[in-house]
Protein backbone atom coordinates (compact mmCIF):
# COMPACT_ATOMS: atom_id res chain seq x y z
CA UNK A 1 0.00 0.00 0.00
CA UNK A 2 2.80 2.34 0.92
CA UNK A 3 4.31 1.66 -2.49
CA UNK A 4 1.08 2.64 -4.24
CA UNK A 5 0.85 5.86 -2.26
CA UNK A 6 4.43 6.63 -3.12
CA UNK A 7 3.77 6.00 -6.77
CA UNK A 8 0.71 8.19 -6.71
CA UNK A 9 2.73 10.93 -5.13
CA UNK A 10 5.49 10.51 -7.70
CA UNK A 11 2.92 10.72 -10.46
CA UNK A 12 1.44 13.88 -9.07
CA UNK A 13 4.92 15.37 -8.77
CA UNK A 14 5.68 14.49 -12.38
CA UNK A 15 2.41 16.08 -13.48
CA UNK A 16 3.23 19.16 -11.49
CA UNK A 17 6.66 19.29 -13.08
CA UNK A 18 5.19 19.03 -16.55
CA UNK A 19 2.65 21.72 -15.76
CA UNK A 20 5.38 23.98 -14.45
CA UNK A 21 7.53 23.32 -17.51
CA UNK A 22 4.62 24.30 -19.72
CA UNK A 23 4.26 27.55 -17.82
CA UNK A 24 7.99 28.10 -18.11
CA UNK A 25 7.77 27.58 -21.86
CA UNK A 26 4.97 30.15 -21.98
CA UNK A 27 7.18 32.63 -20.17
CA UNK A 28 10.03 31.91 -22.57
CA UNK A 29 7.75 32.68 -25.51
CA UNK A 30 6.75 35.99 -23.92
CA UNK A 31 10.41 36.87 -23.33
CA UNK A 32 11.32 36.08 -26.93
CA UNK A 33 8.39 38.11 -28.21
CA UNK A 34 9.46 41.14 -26.15
CA UNK A 35 13.05 40.96 -27.35
CA UNK A 36 11.95 40.58 -30.98
CA UNK A 37 9.63 43.57 -30.62
CA UNK A 38 12.51 45.56 -29.19
CA UNK A 39 14.79 44.78 -32.13
CA UNK A 40 12.04 45.58 -34.64
CA UNK A 41 11.36 48.92 -32.94
CA UNK A 42 15.09 49.66 -33.17
CA UNK A 43 14.94 48.92 -36.90
CA UNK A 44 11.95 51.30 -37.20
CA UNK A 45 13.91 53.96 -35.32
CA UNK A 46 16.76 53.52 -37.82
CA UNK A 47 14.24 53.93 -40.66
CA UNK A 48 13.04 57.22 -39.16
CA UNK A 49 16.36 58.65 -37.97
CA UNK A 50 18.86 57.32 -40.48
CA UNK A 51 20.78 54.06 -40.38
CA UNK A 52 23.89 55.40 -38.67
CA UNK A 53 22.05 57.35 -35.96
CA UNK A 54 21.11 54.26 -33.97
CA UNK A 55 24.15 52.11 -33.62
CA UNK A 56 27.39 51.45 -31.76
CA UNK A 57 28.62 54.99 -32.38
CA UNK A 58 26.08 56.39 -29.98
CA UNK A 59 27.06 54.59 -26.81
CA UNK A 60 30.23 54.67 -24.76
CA UNK A 61 32.23 51.49 -24.22
CA UNK A 62 31.59 51.72 -20.49
CA UNK A 63 27.99 52.04 -19.36
CA UNK A 64 26.06 52.05 -16.09
CA UNK A 65 23.01 49.79 -16.01
CA UNK A 66 19.73 51.25 -14.92
CA UNK A 67 18.41 47.97 -13.53
CA UNK A 68 20.46 45.30 -11.73
CA UNK A 69 19.48 41.77 -10.80
CA UNK A 70 20.90 40.54 -7.49
CA UNK A 71 20.75 36.83 -6.64
CA UNK A 72 21.09 35.67 -3.08
CA UNK A 73 20.83 32.35 -1.34
CA UNK A 74 17.89 32.10 1.06
CA UNK A 75 16.96 29.22 3.35
CA UNK A 76 16.50 25.69 1.96
CA UNK A 77 18.87 26.46 -0.88
CA UNK A 78 16.24 28.51 -2.73
CA UNK A 79 17.46 31.53 -4.61
CA UNK A 80 15.98 34.97 -4.22
CA UNK A 81 16.20 37.52 -6.97
CA UNK A 82 16.04 41.23 -6.34
CA UNK A 83 15.56 43.89 -8.98
CA UNK A 84 17.52 46.95 -7.98
CA UNK A 85 16.90 50.14 -9.89
CA UNK A 86 19.96 52.32 -9.75
CA UNK A 87 19.26 55.51 -7.89
CA UNK A 88 16.34 54.02 -5.95
CA UNK A 89 17.02 52.71 -2.47
CA UNK A 90 14.32 50.09 -1.90
CA UNK A 91 14.98 46.92 -3.85
CA UNK A 92 11.90 45.18 -5.22
CA UNK A 93 11.85 41.59 -4.23
CA UNK A 94 10.20 39.37 -6.76
CA UNK A 95 10.36 35.66 -6.96
CA UNK A 96 9.61 33.00 -4.38
CA UNK A 97 6.40 33.57 -2.66
CA UNK A 98 7.75 32.87 0.74
CA UNK A 99 6.85 35.20 3.52
CA UNK A 100 9.88 37.41 3.16
CA UNK A 101 10.04 40.88 4.53
CA UNK A 102 10.64 43.69 2.10
CA UNK A 103 14.10 44.88 2.95
CA UNK A 104 14.62 48.55 2.77
CA UNK A 105 18.13 49.84 2.40
CA UNK A 106 18.00 52.50 5.01
CA UNK A 107 20.48 55.14 5.95
CA UNK A 108 23.10 52.50 6.70
CA UNK A 109 23.95 52.45 3.02
CA UNK A 110 25.41 55.94 2.87
CA UNK A 111 29.11 55.08 2.57
CA UNK A 112 28.79 55.30 -1.25
CA UNK A 113 26.97 58.53 -2.02
CA UNK A 114 28.33 58.80 -5.59
CA UNK A 115 26.77 55.56 -6.74
CA UNK A 116 23.33 56.63 -5.51
CA UNK A 117 23.08 59.16 -8.35
CA UNK A 118 20.75 57.75 -11.00
CA UNK A 119 22.60 56.90 -14.23
CA UNK A 120 21.55 58.75 -17.33
CA UNK A 121 18.62 57.44 -19.34
CA UNK A 122 20.13 55.56 -22.31
CA UNK A 123 17.52 57.16 -24.56
CA UNK A 124 19.53 60.38 -24.33
CA UNK A 125 22.48 58.78 -26.12
CA UNK A 126 20.48 59.22 -29.33
CA UNK A 127 19.55 62.87 -28.74
CA UNK A 128 16.76 64.61 -26.88
CA UNK A 129 14.13 64.42 -29.59
CA UNK A 130 13.95 60.69 -30.24
CA UNK A 131 11.17 59.08 -32.25
CA UNK A 132 8.43 57.08 -30.60
CA UNK A 133 9.79 53.77 -31.95
CA UNK A 134 12.97 54.18 -29.90
CA UNK A 135 10.93 54.66 -26.72
CA UNK A 136 8.92 51.59 -27.62
CA UNK A 137 12.14 49.63 -28.07
CA UNK A 138 13.32 50.69 -24.61
CA UNK A 139 9.99 49.66 -23.06
CA UNK A 140 10.09 46.27 -24.83
CA UNK A 141 13.61 45.51 -23.64
CA UNK A 142 12.77 46.63 -20.11
CA UNK A 143 9.76 44.29 -20.03
CA UNK A 144 12.03 41.60 -21.44
CA UNK A 145 14.42 41.99 -18.50
CA UNK A 146 11.57 41.61 -16.01
CA UNK A 147 10.25 38.58 -17.89
CA UNK A 148 13.70 37.01 -17.91
CA UNK A 149 13.98 37.52 -14.18
CA UNK A 150 10.52 36.04 -13.51
CA UNK A 151 11.41 33.10 -15.69
CA UNK A 152 14.65 32.48 -13.85
CA UNK A 153 12.86 32.53 -10.48
CA UNK A 154 10.25 30.20 -11.80
CA UNK A 155 12.88 27.83 -13.17
CA UNK A 156 14.63 27.71 -9.83
CA UNK A 157 11.34 27.12 -8.09
CA UNK A 158 10.42 24.30 -10.43
CA UNK A 159 13.75 22.57 -10.06
CA UNK A 160 13.85 22.87 -6.30
CA UNK A 161 10.25 21.80 -6.00
CA UNK A 162 10.86 18.64 -7.86
CA UNK A 163 14.44 17.71 -7.14
CA UNK A 164 14.46 17.60 -3.33
CA UNK A 165 11.20 15.78 -2.72
CA UNK A 166 11.87 13.56 -5.71
CA UNK A 167 15.25 12.59 -4.31
CA UNK A 168 13.57 11.58 -1.09
CA UNK A 169 10.83 9.75 -2.96
CA UNK A 170 13.35 7.95 -5.07
CA UNK A 171 15.23 6.71 -2.04
CA UNK A 172 11.99 5.52 -0.46
CA UNK A 173 10.78 4.06 -3.68
CA UNK A 174 13.97 2.10 -4.17
CA UNK A 175 13.65 0.53 -0.77
CA UNK A 176 10.00 -0.31 -1.54
CA UNK A 177 10.96 -1.84 -4.85
CA UNK A 178 13.63 -3.90 -3.22
CA UNK A 179 11.09 -5.19 -0.73
CA UNK A 180 8.68 -5.93 -3.56
CA UNK A 181 11.40 -7.63 -5.57
CA UNK A 182 12.29 -9.69 -2.57
CA UNK A 183 8.62 -10.47 -2.00
CA UNK A 184 7.92 -11.62 -5.57
CA UNK A 185 10.38 -14.54 -5.71
CA UNK A 186 9.05 -15.59 -2.29
CA UNK A 187 5.49 -15.61 -3.71
CA UNK A 188 6.44 -17.36 -6.92
CA UNK A 189 8.47 -19.89 -5.06
CA UNK A 190 5.56 -20.27 -2.66
CA UNK A 191 3.22 -20.79 -5.68
CA UNK A 192 5.63 -23.17 -7.29
CA UNK A 193 5.66 -25.16 -4.23
Amino acid sequence: MAALDLRAELDSLVLQLLGDLEELEGKRTVLNARVEEGWLSLAKARYAMGAKSVGPLQYASHMEPQVCLHASEAQEGLQKFKVVRAGVHAPEEVGTREAGLRRRKGPTKTPEPESSEAPQDPLNWFGILVPHSLRQAQASFRDGVLEAKKRKCFLEQVIQCVVSPAAEQEAEDESCLEDWAAAVPAETSAKAI
Binding site: L40, A48, K52
Partner: protein
Protein backbone atom coordinates in the same frame (compact mmCIF):
# COMPACT_ATOMS: atom_id res chain seq x y z
CA UNK B 1 6.48 87.79 -68.90
CA UNK B 2 8.50 85.10 -70.57
CA UNK B 3 10.86 83.70 -67.98
CA UNK B 4 13.08 82.02 -70.47
CA UNK B 5 13.98 78.80 -68.75
CA UNK B 6 12.88 76.85 -71.82
CA UNK B 7 15.29 78.88 -73.94
CA UNK B 8 18.42 78.95 -71.81
CA UNK B 9 18.34 76.01 -69.44
CA UNK B 10 19.71 73.36 -71.78
CA UNK B 11 22.78 75.40 -72.65
CA UNK B 12 24.34 74.85 -69.25
CA UNK B 13 22.31 72.11 -67.62
CA UNK B 14 20.70 70.05 -70.35
CA UNK B 15 23.21 67.22 -70.23
CA UNK B 16 22.88 66.82 -66.48
CA UNK B 17 19.08 66.96 -66.59
CA UNK B 18 19.10 64.21 -69.18
CA UNK B 19 21.45 62.19 -67.02
CA UNK B 20 19.38 62.54 -63.88
CA UNK B 21 16.24 61.51 -65.71
CA UNK B 22 18.08 58.41 -66.89
CA UNK B 23 19.12 57.68 -63.31
CA UNK B 24 15.55 58.12 -62.15
CA UNK B 25 14.37 55.51 -64.64
CA UNK B 26 16.65 52.97 -62.94
CA UNK B 27 14.90 53.22 -59.57
CA UNK B 28 13.41 49.94 -58.35
CA UNK B 29 9.87 49.14 -59.47
CA UNK B 30 7.07 47.46 -57.57
CA UNK B 31 7.99 44.11 -59.16
CA UNK B 32 11.56 44.44 -57.90
CA UNK B 33 10.28 45.06 -54.38
CA UNK B 34 8.01 42.02 -54.59
CA UNK B 35 11.03 39.90 -55.51
CA UNK B 36 13.11 41.35 -52.68
CA UNK B 37 10.39 40.75 -50.11
CA UNK B 38 10.38 37.05 -50.96
CA UNK B 39 14.07 36.59 -50.13
CA UNK B 40 14.89 34.34 -47.21
CA UNK B 41 18.41 35.54 -46.44
CA UNK B 42 20.58 38.55 -47.08
CA UNK B 43 22.54 36.57 -49.66
CA UNK B 44 19.31 36.08 -51.64
CA UNK B 45 18.72 39.82 -51.39
CA UNK B 46 22.20 40.46 -52.79
CA UNK B 47 21.53 38.12 -55.72
CA UNK B 48 18.24 39.83 -56.50
CA UNK B 49 19.85 43.25 -56.35
CA UNK B 50 22.41 42.10 -58.90
CA UNK B 51 19.61 41.80 -61.48
CA UNK B 52 18.65 45.45 -60.96
CA UNK B 53 20.67 48.52 -61.77
CA UNK B 54 22.67 48.05 -58.60
CA UNK B 55 24.62 45.25 -60.20
CA UNK B 56 27.58 43.82 -58.34
CA UNK B 57 27.93 46.59 -55.80
CA UNK B 58 28.24 44.09 -52.95
CA UNK B 59 30.67 41.83 -54.77
CA UNK B 60 33.68 42.86 -52.71
CA UNK B 61 32.11 42.01 -49.43
CA UNK B 62 32.93 38.69 -47.85
CA UNK B 63 30.62 36.93 -45.44
CA UNK B 64 28.84 37.74 -43.29
CA UNK B 65 26.76 40.28 -45.08
CA UNK B 66 25.16 42.74 -42.69
CA UNK B 67 22.46 45.33 -43.12
CA UNK B 68 24.94 48.04 -42.21
CA UNK B 69 27.27 47.06 -45.08
CA UNK B 70 24.40 47.09 -47.57
CA UNK B 71 23.43 50.57 -46.39
CA UNK B 72 27.00 51.89 -46.64
CA UNK B 73 27.51 50.55 -50.15
CA UNK B 74 24.23 51.97 -51.44
CA UNK B 75 25.07 55.35 -50.00
CA UNK B 76 28.49 55.25 -51.64
CA UNK B 77 26.85 54.57 -54.96
CA UNK B 78 24.47 57.50 -54.57
CA UNK B 79 27.39 59.69 -53.55
CA UNK B 80 29.31 58.66 -56.67
CA UNK B 81 26.41 59.69 -58.91
CA UNK B 82 25.95 62.97 -57.05
CA UNK B 83 29.64 63.85 -57.24
CA UNK B 84 29.48 63.30 -60.99
CA UNK B 85 26.60 65.78 -61.24
CA UNK B 86 28.39 68.27 -59.05
CA UNK B 87 31.67 68.05 -60.92
CA UNK B 88 29.97 68.72 -64.24
CA UNK B 89 27.67 71.47 -63.04
CA UNK B 90 27.84 75.20 -63.69
CA UNK B 91 26.46 78.04 -61.64
CA UNK B 92 23.81 78.42 -60.33
CA UNK B 93 23.28 74.65 -60.33
CA UNK B 94 26.54 74.15 -58.39
CA UNK B 95 25.28 76.39 -55.58
CA UNK B 96 22.01 74.49 -55.60
CA UNK B 97 23.86 71.18 -55.30
CA UNK B 98 26.05 72.60 -52.51
CA UNK B 99 22.89 73.59 -50.64
CA UNK B 100 21.74 70.01 -50.94
CA UNK B 101 24.91 68.73 -49.29
CA UNK B 102 24.60 71.10 -46.32
CA UNK B 103 21.98 68.96 -44.61
CA UNK B 104 24.36 65.98 -44.64
CA UNK B 105 27.19 68.17 -43.39
CA UNK B 106 25.06 69.21 -40.42
CA UNK B 107 24.35 65.54 -39.64
CA UNK B 108 28.05 64.71 -39.82
CA UNK B 109 29.02 67.59 -37.50
CA UNK B 110 26.48 66.44 -34.93
CA UNK B 111 27.64 62.81 -35.27
CA UNK B 112 31.24 63.90 -34.64
CA UNK B 113 30.30 65.99 -31.62
CA UNK B 114 28.23 63.20 -30.11
CA UNK B 115 31.12 60.86 -30.69
CA UNK B 116 33.43 63.24 -28.86
CA UNK B 117 31.00 63.20 -25.90
CA UNK B 118 31.08 59.40 -25.86
CA UNK B 119 34.89 59.41 -26.16
CA UNK B 120 34.93 57.60 -29.48
CA UNK B 121 37.91 57.84 -31.80
CA UNK B 122 37.61 60.25 -34.70
CA UNK B 123 38.60 57.58 -37.24
CA UNK B 124 35.73 55.34 -36.16
CA UNK B 125 33.19 58.09 -36.61
CA UNK B 126 34.64 59.39 -39.87
CA UNK B 127 34.01 55.96 -41.36
CA UNK B 128 30.31 56.26 -40.54
CA UNK B 129 29.79 59.82 -41.71
CA UNK B 130 27.54 60.44 -44.67
CA UNK B 131 29.70 60.62 -47.79
CA UNK B 132 27.64 63.44 -49.30
CA UNK B 133 28.42 65.65 -46.33
CA UNK B 134 32.21 65.37 -46.41
CA UNK B 135 34.24 68.50 -45.87
CA UNK B 136 37.93 68.96 -45.11
CA UNK B 137 37.61 70.36 -41.59
CA UNK B 138 35.66 67.34 -40.35
CA UNK B 139 38.48 65.80 -38.35
CA UNK B 140 38.84 68.90 -36.19
CA UNK B 141 35.19 69.10 -35.12
CA UNK B 142 35.59 66.99 -32.03
CA UNK B 143 37.96 69.39 -30.28
CA UNK B 144 35.36 72.17 -30.03
CA UNK B 145 33.86 72.76 -26.59
CA UNK B 146 31.18 75.37 -27.29
CA UNK B 147 29.23 76.38 -30.40
CA UNK B 148 31.22 79.62 -30.71
CA UNK B 149 34.44 77.63 -30.63
CA UNK B 150 33.06 75.36 -33.29
CA UNK B 151 32.19 78.26 -35.51
CA UNK B 152 35.27 80.43 -35.05
CA UNK B 153 37.86 77.73 -35.16
CA UNK B 154 36.50 75.16 -37.55
CA UNK B 155 33.39 75.80 -39.56
CA UNK B 156 34.02 79.37 -40.61
CA UNK B 157 35.44 78.24 -43.97
CA UNK B 158 32.73 75.74 -44.73
CA UNK B 159 29.35 76.30 -46.41
CA UNK B 160 27.78 75.91 -42.93
CA UNK B 161 29.18 79.24 -41.71
CA UNK B 162 26.16 81.41 -42.65
CA UNK B 163 23.83 79.16 -40.65
CA UNK B 164 25.49 79.80 -37.32
CA UNK B 165 23.92 83.18 -36.54
CA UNK B 166 21.29 81.92 -34.10
CA UNK B 167 23.44 79.25 -32.61
CA UNK B 168 26.33 81.15 -31.16
CA UNK B 169 26.52 80.59 -27.46
CA UNK B 170 29.03 79.81 -24.78
CA UNK B 171 27.12 76.88 -23.32
CA UNK B 172 29.03 73.64 -23.11
CA UNK B 173 27.96 71.02 -25.62
CA UNK B 174 25.91 68.38 -23.81
CA UNK B 175 23.11 66.28 -25.27
CA UNK B 176 20.41 68.92 -24.96
CA UNK B 177 22.57 71.66 -26.45
CA UNK B 178 23.79 69.46 -29.27
CA UNK B 179 20.20 68.66 -30.19
CA UNK B 180 19.26 72.35 -30.05
CA UNK B 181 22.30 73.18 -32.17
CA UNK B 182 21.35 70.57 -34.76
CA UNK B 183 17.81 71.86 -35.08
CA UNK B 184 18.77 75.53 -35.17
CA UNK B 185 21.41 74.91 -37.84
CA UNK B 186 18.90 72.96 -39.88
CA UNK B 187 16.33 75.72 -39.50
CA UNK B 188 18.76 78.38 -40.76
CA UNK B 189 19.84 76.11 -43.60
CA UNK B 190 16.27 75.47 -44.75
CA UNK B 191 15.44 79.16 -44.63
CA UNK B 192 18.54 80.02 -46.68
CA UNK B 193 17.80 77.30 -49.23
CA UNK B 194 14.20 78.46 -49.55
CA UNK B 195 15.34 82.04 -50.12
CA UNK B 196 17.80 80.91 -52.77
CA UNK B 197 15.12 78.98 -54.68
CA UNK B 198 12.63 81.79 -54.39
CA UNK B 199 15.13 84.37 -55.65
CA UNK B 200 16.06 82.15 -58.55
CA UNK B 201 12.45 82.26 -59.64
CA UNK B 202 11.23 80.45 -62.73
CA UNK B 203 10.21 76.79 -62.76
CA UNK B 204 12.77 75.95 -60.05
CA UNK B 205 10.95 78.17 -57.56
CA UNK B 206 7.58 76.76 -58.60
CA UNK B 207 8.77 73.21 -57.99
CA UNK B 208 11.19 73.59 -55.07
CA UNK B 209 9.33 76.07 -52.86
CA UNK B 210 6.35 73.78 -52.14
CA UNK B 211 8.75 70.90 -51.46
CA UNK B 212 10.79 72.99 -49.02
CA UNK B 213 7.64 74.36 -47.37
CA UNK B 214 6.50 70.81 -46.80
CA UNK B 215 9.92 70.01 -45.33
CA UNK B 216 9.61 72.94 -42.90
CA UNK B 217 6.12 71.91 -41.82
CA UNK B 218 7.21 68.31 -41.45
CA UNK B 219 10.06 69.33 -39.17
CA UNK B 220 7.68 71.39 -37.06
CA UNK B 221 5.33 68.43 -36.57
CA UNK B 222 8.09 65.91 -35.86
CA UNK B 223 9.92 68.19 -33.40
CA UNK B 224 6.63 68.79 -31.59
CA UNK B 225 5.78 65.10 -31.42
CA UNK B 226 9.22 64.02 -30.23
CA UNK B 227 9.42 66.76 -27.62
CA UNK B 228 6.43 65.49 -25.60
CA UNK B 229 7.73 64.13 -22.33
CA UNK B 230 11.23 65.56 -22.68
CA UNK B 231 12.95 68.42 -20.93
CA UNK B 232 12.58 70.74 -23.94
CA UNK B 233 10.46 73.76 -22.95
CA UNK B 234 7.73 75.19 -25.17
CA UNK B 235 9.67 78.40 -25.78
CA UNK B 236 12.75 76.48 -26.84
CA UNK B 237 10.59 74.32 -29.07
CA UNK B 238 9.18 77.36 -30.84
CA UNK B 239 12.67 78.65 -31.65
CA UNK B 240 13.38 75.44 -33.55
CA UNK B 241 10.53 75.77 -36.07
CA UNK B 242 11.57 77.11 -39.50
CA UNK B 243 9.89 80.44 -40.24
CA UNK B 244 8.26 79.62 -43.52
CA UNK B 245 5.81 77.08 -44.81
CA UNK B 246 2.06 76.63 -44.66
CA UNK B 247 2.08 76.52 -40.87
CA UNK B 248 3.90 79.84 -40.51
CA UNK B 249 2.98 81.85 -38.45
CA UNK B 250 -0.35 80.90 -36.86
CA UNK B 251 0.04 77.16 -37.09
CA UNK B 252 3.51 77.26 -35.55
CA UNK B 253 2.22 79.35 -32.65
CA UNK B 254 -0.53 76.80 -32.01
CA UNK B 255 1.89 73.88 -32.36
CA UNK B 256 4.22 75.41 -29.80
CA UNK B 257 1.40 75.20 -27.24
CA UNK B 258 0.43 71.62 -28.05
CA UNK B 259 0.94 69.12 -25.25
CA UNK B 260 -0.11 65.84 -26.78
CA UNK B 261 -0.81 64.17 -30.10
CA UNK B 262 -4.51 65.06 -30.13
CA UNK B 263 -3.81 68.75 -29.75
CA UNK B 264 -1.32 68.46 -32.61
CA UNK B 265 -4.00 66.79 -34.70
CA UNK B 266 -6.36 69.69 -33.96
CA UNK B 267 -3.78 72.11 -35.34
CA UNK B 268 -3.36 69.99 -38.48
CA UNK B 269 -7.15 69.97 -39.00
CA UNK B 270 -6.92 73.61 -40.06
CA UNK B 271 -4.83 72.66 -43.09
CA UNK B 272 -6.36 70.70 -45.92
CA UNK B 273 -3.08 69.03 -46.83
CA UNK B 274 -2.12 67.86 -43.33
CA UNK B 275 -5.52 66.80 -42.02
CA UNK B 276 -5.67 63.49 -43.95
CA UNK B 277 -2.00 62.81 -43.19
CA UNK B 278 -2.42 63.02 -39.44
CA UNK B 279 -5.63 61.06 -39.57
CA UNK B 280 -3.78 58.22 -41.27
CA UNK B 281 -1.40 57.86 -38.30
CA UNK B 282 -2.04 54.75 -36.21
CA UNK B 283 -4.92 52.90 -37.81
CA UNK B 284 -4.72 49.27 -38.85
CA UNK B 285 -1.35 49.46 -40.57
CA UNK B 286 0.35 50.91 -37.52
CA UNK B 287 1.72 53.83 -39.52
CA UNK B 288 3.82 56.36 -37.70
CA UNK B 289 3.89 60.09 -38.41
CA UNK B 290 7.29 59.68 -40.08
CA UNK B 291 5.81 57.06 -42.44
CA UNK B 292 2.95 59.27 -43.64
CA UNK B 293 5.31 62.19 -44.16
CA UNK B 294 7.73 60.03 -46.16
CA UNK B 295 4.84 58.92 -48.38
CA UNK B 296 3.81 62.50 -49.06
CA UNK B 297 7.44 63.46 -49.76
CA UNK B 298 7.72 60.64 -52.32
CA UNK B 299 4.53 61.83 -54.04
CA UNK B 300 5.83 65.40 -54.30
CA UNK B 301 9.24 64.30 -55.55
CA UNK B 302 7.79 62.07 -58.25
CA UNK B 303 5.61 64.97 -59.44
CA UNK B 304 8.73 67.15 -59.74
CA UNK B 305 9.75 65.12 -62.77
CA UNK B 306 6.65 66.24 -64.65
CA UNK B 307 8.16 69.66 -65.29
CA UNK B 308 11.23 70.35 -67.31
CA UNK B 309 14.07 72.88 -67.15
CA UNK B 310 14.45 73.22 -63.40
CA UNK B 311 16.89 72.12 -60.69
CA UNK B 312 14.25 70.37 -58.64
CA UNK B 313 14.84 67.13 -60.55
CA UNK B 314 18.25 66.78 -58.88
CA UNK B 315 16.83 67.30 -55.41
CA UNK B 316 13.92 64.98 -56.14
CA UNK B 317 16.18 62.27 -57.51
CA UNK B 318 18.46 62.27 -54.45
CA UNK B 319 15.48 62.16 -52.08
CA UNK B 320 13.81 59.34 -54.03
CA UNK B 321 17.05 57.38 -54.06
CA UNK B 322 17.34 57.85 -50.31
CA UNK B 323 13.82 56.53 -49.86
CA UNK B 324 14.76 53.53 -51.97
CA UNK B 325 17.79 52.91 -49.73
CA UNK B 326 15.53 53.16 -46.67
CA UNK B 327 13.13 50.67 -48.23
CA UNK B 328 15.85 48.14 -49.04
CA UNK B 329 17.43 48.51 -45.59
CA UNK B 330 14.02 47.96 -43.96
CA UNK B 331 13.39 44.81 -46.02
CA UNK B 332 16.92 43.61 -45.18
CA UNK B 333 16.34 44.20 -41.45
CA UNK B 334 13.05 42.26 -41.53
CA UNK B 335 14.78 39.40 -43.34
CA UNK B 336 17.77 39.29 -40.99
CA UNK B 337 15.56 39.47 -37.88
CA UNK B 338 13.19 36.88 -39.40
CA UNK B 339 10.27 39.10 -38.49
CA UNK B 340 8.24 39.31 -41.64
CA UNK B 341 4.96 40.75 -40.41
CA UNK B 342 5.88 44.33 -41.23
CA UNK B 343 8.08 43.62 -44.22
CA UNK B 344 5.62 45.31 -46.60
CA UNK B 345 5.85 48.67 -44.85
CA UNK B 346 8.16 50.08 -47.49
CA UNK B 347 6.98 52.94 -49.72
CA UNK B 348 6.96 52.03 -53.43
CA UNK B 349 8.20 54.79 -55.69
CA UNK B 350 7.52 53.92 -59.31
Amino acid sequence: MLEGAELYFNVDHGYLEGLVRGCKASLLTQQDYINLVQCETLEDLKIHLQTTDYGNFLANHTNPLTVSKIDTEMRKRLCGEFEYFRNHSLEPLSTFLTYMTCSYMIDNVILLMNGALQKKSVKEILGKCHPLGRFTEMEAVNIAETPSDLFNAILIETPLAPFFQDCMSENALDELNIELLRNKLYKSYLEAFYKFCKNHGDVTAEVMCPILEFEADRRAFIITLNSFGTELSKEDRETLYPTFGKLYPEGLRLLAQAEDFDQMKNVADHYGVYKPLLEAVGGSGGKTLEDVFYEREVQMNVLAFNRQFHYGVFYAYVKLKEQEIRNIVWIAECISQRHRTKINSYIPIL
